[in-house]
Amino acid sequence: MNLSTTPLSPPLSAPLSSATISMMLADARLPVGGHVHSAGLEPALSGGMPAAQVPGYMLGRVRTVTLVEAGTAVVARHVAVQGTGQGVFGAAQLAVALATVDRAWAARTPSRAVRDVSRSLARGYQRLAGTLWAEHPAVVASALGSTPPGPTLSRPVLLGVIAAAAGLDAESLVRLVVYDDAQTIAAAMLKLEPLDPAIPPGWVLAACAAAEEFVTDLAALTSADAIPAWGAPESEGWAEAHSRTTQRLFRA
């Protein structure tokens, strides 16, 4: 039996719900290499942040870098949906449009280490998208925009592309980005500062609840210029330091 060459595409007659796509993309078992990431938690703890502040760290990200990630993903999704809707764009034009969104994200992500890690994680998503939705114009365009060792797209842009290809609505996409960031921290916490494993999921829900007030506005974004530009300088400093350490469990 050879399953390696027979990826199955979802039948068009049975569209998937956003809930299903969200579940798959939020699942830590999704094979995109996510288990080597801690959403900045290991750099933060190594940098001296007390473990007791992790719930606050999660909430801080919801109000800063996660808004940038979610806004970028939503705009990338919008561009991908618009560009493939009526065949107005060719793949090359769509790739340029996605690159514009990517530049807006990069301008809002001053740490080179954070950008590098996001682009590296995005390649796992690119691999997945290239297998599941290989023919989708946005996926084709994103592959044009990712040419290692040259430039590659960031993770939120790839999430937006996948959202367009898989049929994930914008609000679900925002919630996915928020949940994934918080849950990545929660899972990494159990390796770095073990505690009763039933406790961090409560922090995740608190972070998701704190993000609800932003969901509608973020989901309505259509322009790269309008992507929020909140930063977390201390966290970025920790990420830079972590990228130079020789002793780490997580890539970032």
Partner: protein, 259 residues
């Protein structure tokens, strides 16, 4: 970003990818250094290391001077070395593909697993063949304990045979135990100071490369776990068996993952 990009040229050559697994301290890095030392003059080589806590293995290999430092790359495994070589091999696949692209063409890429336990094996989707490494200092009885790597890796190495007199291990007996556990698959008693054993290892790699290029080598899965016992839910006698290439899924046995 796009304006700086160049269209990707034709796909890089697909190397022979060899995994090296085995418990901590049995000499995986040293074995890779030995292979590089023996073959670097005749083959184009690359190395990927999977470290658990550090990039120690990559630094060891770079400092050994057996290969250009740029051809040795480390990947992080999020404290799950077994996941990164078996379940979600994404980071390792990307690292291998990057290496094949940056040093195209490569003949062989050696992928070292993080030192784990007796049950960690590579996915055949990541490596074409795998070496499982034990050493005499770990105890003469380890080969008898079996497990997927010991029993069904493409090659089992019993390493550090030069230490046998100091640790009271009978190498021929340990090799014989291993051959029994492996039902005739190859076992190599290796010491980096024993030139004949090193040449046998080099010849094994050369032979595999010939088969790989001829398309006659098929990657085999050693299996995810050792032969083990399932209690019979009906209260019967139960069943001792092993999972192999014709593996079946047990109803009700939960999927297992690490993240």
């Amino acid at each position: 970003m796009l304006e700086n990009s160049t269209p990707s040229s034709s796909a890089p050559a697909r190397s022979l990818r060899i995994g090296v697994a085995g418990p901590v301290g049995t000499g995986k890095s040293s074995l890779i250094a030995t292979v590089c030392r023996a073959l670097a003059a005749e083959l184009r080589l690359g190395v990927i290391t999977n470290d658990i806590y550090t990039d120690e293995d990559a630094r060891f290999l770079r400092s050994a001077g057996v290969l250009e430092p740029e051809r040795i790359r480390a990947v992080e495994t999020g404290a799950c070395p077994h996941t990164a070589i078996r379940d979600d091999i994404t980071v390792n696949l990307l690292a291998v593909e990057d290496l094949e692209r940056d040093f195209n063409p490569l003949d062989v890429v050696l992928i070292e697993s993080g030192g784990d336990n007796l049950t960690a094996t590579f996915s055949p989707a990541l490596v074409d063949a795998q070496i499982f490494v034990l050493d005499v200092a770990g105890g003469g009885d380890v080969a008898r304990k079996g497990g997927p790597g010991i029993a069904r890796a493409d090659l089992l190495v019993v390493n550090k045979t030069d230490l046998a007199p100091y640790v009271g291990v009978d190498v021929p007996a340990m090799v014989a135990d291993a051959e029994t556990a492996r039902e005739g698959r190859q076992v190599l008693a290796l010491s980096r100071s024993d030139a004949a054993s090193v040449e046998t290892l080099a010849a094994w790699v050369r032979g595999l490369l010939v088969e790989h290029r001829a398309g006659t080598h098929t990657p085999q899965d050693p299996g995810p776990m050792a032969p083990h016992f399932h209690a019979d839910e009906e209260g019967g006698p139960g069943l001792l068996h092993s999972h192999d290439e014709t593996e079946h899924v047990h109803d009700g046995e939960p999927a297992h993952t690490h993240h």
